[in-house]
């Protein structure tokens, strides 16, 4: 069958819901939270309209139970999906470890939302980045299309490496903003993503298994190593699945860091998620104004694309790392990770951290231009003014 995309104008959340439907998820357990809710509303609508078969919807009493129910479902062999944001993700934290430790390929959409207090429902990456050590893969979507593609690819990758995966989109900027998304006809999704074939399930009554039994100090260590290894192996799987996706559907995801006009760049902007759309637009304008700049969009934060970062870093003079997140007592989280990766290499560009857009503060093309001016001055002078710049701060 020849690939002809079905174009729909949908929000990021609806893109996520359609992807879950096209992935033929079998169990959805979820709890409402703004701005995630329209994902599970849409899925409920699919069920109400008879558009899906064999999909069990479990309207749990909390996000903690949402993840616990997905864990039970996945351990029993089902393809399980959920979605959440901020406080809900934080409540799930314990069970995120459980999902990864039990090696269950659950896929979850997290709509990035700022943590309270003060109450906020707007975009901020700290919720998902605070879960970085739980053993989940993390994919950051730039636009609604990437939300859709990310969910489909994540199931395939997760079910290959037996680790759960999180697909992350921005509150409102993507979740509630409508855009054209090219969807894939069901038969072609089925070819790309066949039914899940779990290695072990609770339904094997001839060979009953026990999942998660006590691991003594003599064994626990090896269990952890196996997760570390699976996460490392996931890089290869991500590149292969990303390439296959490109060959089948025309959008290539074989690069864990998407490079935009970086070939001859003096310096680049690096960041994740929807703000990189703004950055790309700014790069075009800056290029016209004579700046030799590019953009490096980190698609996968876990596993971290260290090799690709090194290849980029050795060819540029500076990297402006844009963090829509912050680790108190340290610095922006992407900045911190990127510096760590490069320490034991020969690539040492000037790196500066710009803390931008926390709690949904607008981050515009004009802001990128100001950062470019600042970055150029730093590179010309050869030294940093400050390492961590609270760029928007009202002074």
């Amino acid at each position: 069958m020849e690939y002809k995309p079905i174009r729909k104008v949908v929000s990021g959340n609806y893109a996520a819901a359609y992807a879950a439907k096209h992935a033929r998820v079998e169990v959805v357990a979820a709890y409402p939270i703004t701005p995630q809710t329209s994902i599970i509303e849409k899925i409920a609508e699919f069920i109400a309209n008879g558009e899906v078969e064999n999909l069990q919807y479990v309207p749990v009493e909390s996000e903690h139970s949402a993840m616990a129910a997905c864990i039970g479902a996945s351990a029993a062999g089902a393809r399980a999906f959920t979605a959440t944001s901020a406080q809900g993700l934080a409540l799930m934290h314990e069970m995120l470890h459980w999902a990864a430790g039990a090696r269950l390929p659950i896929v979850m959409v997290d709509v990035n939302r700022a943590m309270a207090p003060p109450w906020s429902v707007w975009d901020d990456q700290t919720d998902s980045l605070a879960q970085r050590d739980t053993g989940w893969l993390q994919f950051y979507a730039e636009n609604n299309q990437e939300v859709y593609d990310g969910v489909l690819m994540s199931f395939k990758i997760a079910e290959t490496v037996n680790l759960p995966a999180m697909v992350i989109e921005s509150a409102f900027i993507l979740s509630h903003t409508y855009d054209v998304v090219e969807m894939i006809p069901q038969e072609l999704v089925d070819e790309f993503l066949p039914p899940r074939k779990p290695l072990y399930t609770l339904t094997d009554f001839d060979n009953p298994i026990s999942v998660g039994a006590l691991g003594t100090p003599a064994d626990y260590y090896e269990f952890r190593y196996k997760i570390a290894k699976a996460m490392e192996d996931a890089k290869k799987v991500i590149r292969e699945v990303g390439k296959e996706f490109g060959e089948r559907f025309g959008r290539d995801y074989s690069q864990m860091i998407e490079l935009y006009r970086t070939e001859d760049a003096d310096f680049v902007f690096m960041g994740m998620g929807s703000l990189m759309g703004t950055v790309k637009q700014a790069v075009d304008i800056l290029r016209e104004e004579g700046y030799k700049v590019g953009a490096a969009k980190v698609r996968w934060f876990r596993p971290f694309p260290s090799e690709e970062l090194y290849e980029l870093a050795k060819n540029v003079e500076g990297i402006a790392v844009l963090d829509r997140n912050f680790s108190f007592g340290q610095e922006g989280i992407l900045f911190n990770e990127a510096k760590g990766v490069l320490y034991n290499t020969d690539a040492h560009p000037i790196m500066k951290n710009y803390i931008v857009g926390l709690g949904g503060r607008d981050f515009t093309v004009a802001d990128v231009k100001k950062i470019a001016e600042n970055m150029k001055a730093i590179i010309d002078k050869g030294e940093l003014d400050v390492e961590v710049d609270w760029y928007h701060l009202k002074r």
Binding site: E26, V27, A29, N54, L55, Q56, V58, P59, V60, E61, S62, H64, S65, A66, A68, A69, C70, I71, G72, A73, S74, A75, A76, G77, A78, A80, E94, M95, W98, A102, L202, T203, D204, F205, P208, I209, S210, V211, G212, A213, L214, G215, T216, D219
Partner: protein, 311 residues
């Protein structure tokens, strides 16, 4: 020893064993005995969810399993939710759930994991109507962590965090009536049971297998270690808990209450008979004992009334 098939059929307790010897329970453990009965009744086609509790240890460390049936170990407060997820997956995949030839989804959790930290997930499980059985084995404290009080610990009991002492710092509250909370969800079937009355327990397990929707059994499971009692007194203690009406046996089925006392016409024995065999009650004053006795009789009258009005 091989039991002939014709004899097997007449046994009131199934001959089949799906709970392996060599498990790591303490001597006289009521929970281990209860789990053995569950496995005898349901066999291999049973998916267990076990949260943090004594049974995490009893089930054995990796790569061993005491249970000859699939088992998912889960976090303390998640039994109800994980069971719900498993049941949903079975439905999505077209398995027959419950009935003699169906898959039985069983939650097996202690009183702390049920009455305290797991109460929310239990409530969610009950109200959503999952087709599964939740068993709370009640040993009346956090025994696996070393005998700390739970909301299911009785009035006047010593535990490691109600140690008595000069200030008479003992458990000050009566046992939480978890089964009443469960019944408030208007589920089709809820019952109490005791390891001292295995035929009654097994009959209730079989009933839970046939009933559509969520069911709940609160199983009284003595813990000699935590109760500071001789290990050969477990069954006697469990029997006395019933005979004193401290832990009466009853069923709630589709809105109707039915008392299942072994000797229905007998008046309850004095609570002292249950208390005196256990070191955990040795710090109680006469006043404490009276207070507990009054509570037991008041609750017993309430139950009889319920059975009379909604029988």
């Amino acid at each position: 020893m091989q039991i002939p098939e014709n004899v097997k059929k007449r046994l009131s307790i199934p001959a089949d064993e799906h709970f392996y010897a060599g498990h790591t329970a303490c001597q006289g453990c009521g929970a281990a005995l209860g789990l053995r009965y569950v496995l005898k009744t349901y066999g291999r086609k049973t998916i267990f969810t076990i949260p943090a509790c004594c049974s995490t240890i009893i089930a054995g460390p990796w790569p061993y399993s005491t249970l000859d049936a699939p088992l998912f170990h889960t976090a303390f407060e998640t039994t109800g939710a994980v069971m719900g997820g498993i049941e949903a997956a079975l439905k999505a995949k077209g398995y027959k759930v419950k009935g003699e030839d169906g898959v039985m989804v069983v939650g097996w959790a202690g009183d702390g994991g049920t009455a305290d930290i797991g109460l929310q997930a239990l409530s969610g499980f009950l109200e959503r109507g999952h087709d599964a059985l939740y068993i709370m084995y009640d040993n009346e404290a956090y025994m696996n962590t070393g005998i700390q009080r739970s909301s299911s610990t009785p009035y006047g009991a010593w535990t490691t965090n109600t140690p008595g002492g000069k200030k008479h710092f003992l458990e000050k509250r009566h046992k939480k009536k978890v089964i009443d909370i469960v019944i408030a969800h208007e589920i089709p079937y809820a019952a109490t049971a005791s390891v001292a009355y295995p035929e009654d327990f097994i009959r209730k397990l079989k009933k839970a297998r046939e009933i559509k929707g969520p069911s709940f059994i609160q199983l009284f499971a003595p813990c000699p270690t935590g109760w500071r009692a001789p290990t050969d007194k477990s069954i006697e203690l469990a029997r006395l808990a019933v005979q004193t009406a401290y832990f009466p046996l009853f069923e709630y089925e589709n809105g109707k209450y039915k008392i299942n006392m072994p000797s229905p016409k007998k008046e309850p024995k004095p609570i002292e008979e249950f208390l005196k065999l256990q070191g955990r009650f040795k710090y109680m004053t006469q006043e404490d004992i009276e207070s507990l006795q009054n509570w037991v009789l008041r609750e017993w009258e309430k139950l009889k009334k319920l059975a009379e009005v909604f029988g």
